[in-house]
C-alpha cells in the first residue's frame, strides 16, 4: 500500500510536471508519422504521468479522479476504437485496416484518409496501453486490497 507522506516538494513538482508529461505524450503520438513515436510510446508516457501522481500523492486521491471503472472502460474502449476502424474498412469494401477506403465517409482524399486512419488506430492503442499499465500498477500497489 502506498501511504501518503505529505512531502510538499514532491507534490509541487508532480503537480508542475504532470501536465507537461501528458502534453509530451500527445506530441509523441502525433509525431509518430514522421519520427520515432506513436501510440505505444505515448501511452507509456500517459501511464507514467498517472503513476507519478500515485507515487507523489496516494492511491485513494488518484483513483478518485481516475476511477477503476473508468480504467476498465478505457481498456476496452481503446481496443474498440482499433477494431472498429478496422471493421469499418471492411464494411466500406476494403480489407481489414485498409484505411484508404475511409475517404468514402471522410471529406478528404485516399492518401489523407490513410494518414487519419493510422492516427485513429494509434489513438486507440494509446488509450489501451495507458489504462492497462495504470491498472497493473494499481493492482501491484494496492496489495490486493481493492
Amino acid at each position: 500500500m502506498i501511504r501518503r507522506n505529505d512531502d510538499l516538494i514532491i507534490e509541487t513538482l508532480a503537480r508542475l510536471l504532470i501536465p507537461f508529461i501528458q502534453a509530451f505524450a500527445l506530441y509523441v503520438l502525433f509525431l509518430g508519422h514522421y519520427s520515432p513515436g506513436g501510440g505505444f510510446q505515448g501511452g507509456v508516457l500517459v501511464a507514467a504521468s498517472l503513476i507519478l501522481l500515485i507515487i507523489a500523492f496516494d492511491l485513494e486521491k488518484t483513483t478518485k479522479r481516475f476511477s477503476e471503472k473508468f480504467n476498465v472502460i478505457c481498456n476496452g474502449g481503446g481496443v474498440f476504437i482499433y477494431a472498429g476502424i478496422g471493421l469499418l474498412c471492411i464494411l466500406l469494401g476494403g480489407n481489414l485496416l485498409d484505411y484508404s477506403v475511409l475517404s468514402k465517409i471522410l471529406p478528404v482524399g485516399p492518401e489523407e484518409a490513410r494518414a487519419l486512419g493510422i492516427l485513429g488506430v494509434e489513438i486507440g492503442v494509446e488509450i489501451t496501453v495507458a489504462a492497462c499499465l495504470v491498472s497493473i500498477f494499481i493492482d501491484l500497489a494496492a496489495n490486493g486490497e481493492n
Binding site: I10, L13, L17
Partner: protein
C-alpha cells in the same frame, strides 16, 4: 562557436567526475547522495547546454536556420526537465532513507 561547446562539455565532465569521486569516497548514504545529486544535475545541464550550442551552428541543414533553432530549443527543454526532476528525485531518496532509519555518519562513529 566550437570553443563555447568545448568549455561547456568539459565543465560538465568535471562536475560528473567530482560527483563520481564523491560517490566512491564519501562515508555514508547521505553524503554520497549530496555529492551525486548536485554534481549530476549541474554536469548534465552543462553537457546538454554545450550540445544545444553545437547543434545551433552545425545541426539542421548545416547552419543557423529554423530547424536547428527548433532542435536546440527541444534540447533546452530536456535541460530544464533535468534541473527540475533531478534534485527532487534526490530529495525523495533522502527522505525515504531518513524514514527507513538510515543513521547519519558522525565523527565519533555511528552508535
Amino acid at each position: 562557436m566550437e570553443i563555447v561547446t568545448i568549455i561547456f562539455v568539459l565543465g560538465g565532465l568535471f562536475f560528473f567526475f567530482a560527483a563520481s569521486i564523491g560517490l566512491l569516497r564519501f562515508p555514508d548514504f547521505y553524503a554520497r547522495m549530496h555529492a551525486t545529486g548536485k554534481g549530476d544535475t549541474l554536469g548534465g545541464f552543462l553537457i546538454i547546454l554545450g550540445l544545444a550550442v553545437y547543434n545551433l551552428f552545425h545541426g539542421g541543414h548545416g547552419g543557423f536556420d529554423l530547424a536547428s533553432i527548433l532542435t536546440s530549443v527541444k534540447i533546452i527543454f530536456i535541460a530544464v526537465f533535468i534541473f527540475l526532476a533531478n534534485p527532487t528525485a534526490t530529495h525523495a531518496v533522502f527522505k525515504a532513507g531518513l524514514d527507513s532509519g538510515v543513521v547519519p555518519w558522525t565523527k565519533e562513529g555511528s552508535k
